[in-house]
Amino acid sequence: MSDVQCHRFEGQVALVTGASRGIGAAVALRLASEGADVAVGYHENAEGAQEVVAAIEAMGRKAVAIAADLTDRKGAKTLFAGFTEHFDRLDVLVPAAGNAEIKPLEEMDVDTWQRSFAIHLDAVLETCKAAYPMLQESKGRVVMLSTVGAHAAFTGFAAVGAAKAGLESLLQYMASEWIKNGVRCNAVSCGTVDTGILERWEIGPQVRSFVQRKTVGLGVAKPDDVSPIVAFLAAEESRYIVGFTVVADGGMTLGIDFEEWVHAAYGKDAKL
């Protein structure tokens, strides 16, 4: 039997936004399973948020669902008003709220573009700023969520990719400025994750088969393939990692196999 640490967040409080489903929910559950009390931030999916709260309570931890529209300028204020009603400390902040609208650039409208920057960039800045005094007190950690679409161009993904690239740059500034007061910030840049979003995209099935090929059969990640990485970056184990974005994509963007590409595009019998 090994003496593995699995209570890394005992006595700590975490706030996870976008925690009613997908990666946010998986992160909330994972942190709770290691001892954290969790504030479950959500926007519209009250049912999902309640389910997460119930699951956390079943682990014997405290959980509270807090509704806030983070694309609204006052969203972060609302979130923290709710948070401080129930919790008096904050150790781990995971701003996971996000959305992804697919649209090629020639069809890009200002509203779609702004919606993406509002939730993926502005909202993270505002949420982190609101959390900073409490994080400073606890020597807390921030773990942001990004996408490999910030480093490479995926069909129709510009609005998200560009906003997340901005987020990864924001991370560097935030990490550099805040580490001086003991607040440690990092990010996980994910490949394609099964969060229900693929079903909403017209190109969902193509994405799925692309990912299946490029990850050598691993396929689309489950939220719980990503949540252990967030937990690691929130834990003491990663104390020496600051301002870094961990790419976790199952190898999807690692390289290009020319033969495989030709076979995928032109069929198995294509002459090489």
Partner: protein, 278 residues
Amino acid sequence: MKHPPPENPGDLTGKVALVTGGTRGIGLEISERLAKRGADLILVYKKDVENAKAAEARLSATGRRIQLVQADLRKPEGVDSVFEQVAEGLDQIDILVLNAAFGTMGEVHRMGRASWRASYDTNVLSPMLTAKGALPWLKRKGGVITATSTLGAHTAYPTYVAIGSSKAAMEALVRFMSFEWAKYGIRANSVAAGPVDTRAIDWFRYPEAVRIFTAKKGLAGRMGMPHDIADIAVWLCTDESRWIYGQSIIAEAGILLGVDYEEWTGDDDGEGAEGGAA
């Protein structure tokens, strides 16, 4: 909810880890953590038998099986001899930690051919041959390769070109191994460490400058220690990092993250030194 979190995340019970340079410094800290998570160990060391025995004695306290292997990894026949001894010993490798390193300090204009070659032989050729040698075992049930690298592969330090550039090559090698061997269920990643308080710091012309800078800029007001890096390397060996392929995780406590003009002008009042700061 679906996907309940694992009961024992990061458990390595039943696995065998081969660690090169595993009997001192960061390698020893990695070995100890792997053993505490339940892995048996094959520790490769170069020549210091006494130190290797001491490491074995310390690690035996974990109750894991330990096989010591003496080999000079800079020579291809040295790498071959490792795997002959593995076959006769524990005959299993699930985790390969490429940690043995060597480097000659010196600026580009002073760098000699032999010194350059020695750095690249230990830091690039040897990891390639070692990984290749371990491949038949790693393929059996799928495995993990974790390499220790340096921040010097991503930036530049004084007199560090032989190590920094060879480690950059090693990180590229790791990426290619991950790309080529994913089909065998093998993952490969690196952790690139900022300056860590090991005997290697004394190779710098002004070791004190490295220590002062790192402690001042670092997160905990102290220099990086082997355990800071070992925690990350070992985590990369566990299933917790299962979605990370071919990456270099930079671990430097934020020392190179930002530029603080005031520091560079020696002006704490922020009034700007002579000549003015931007």
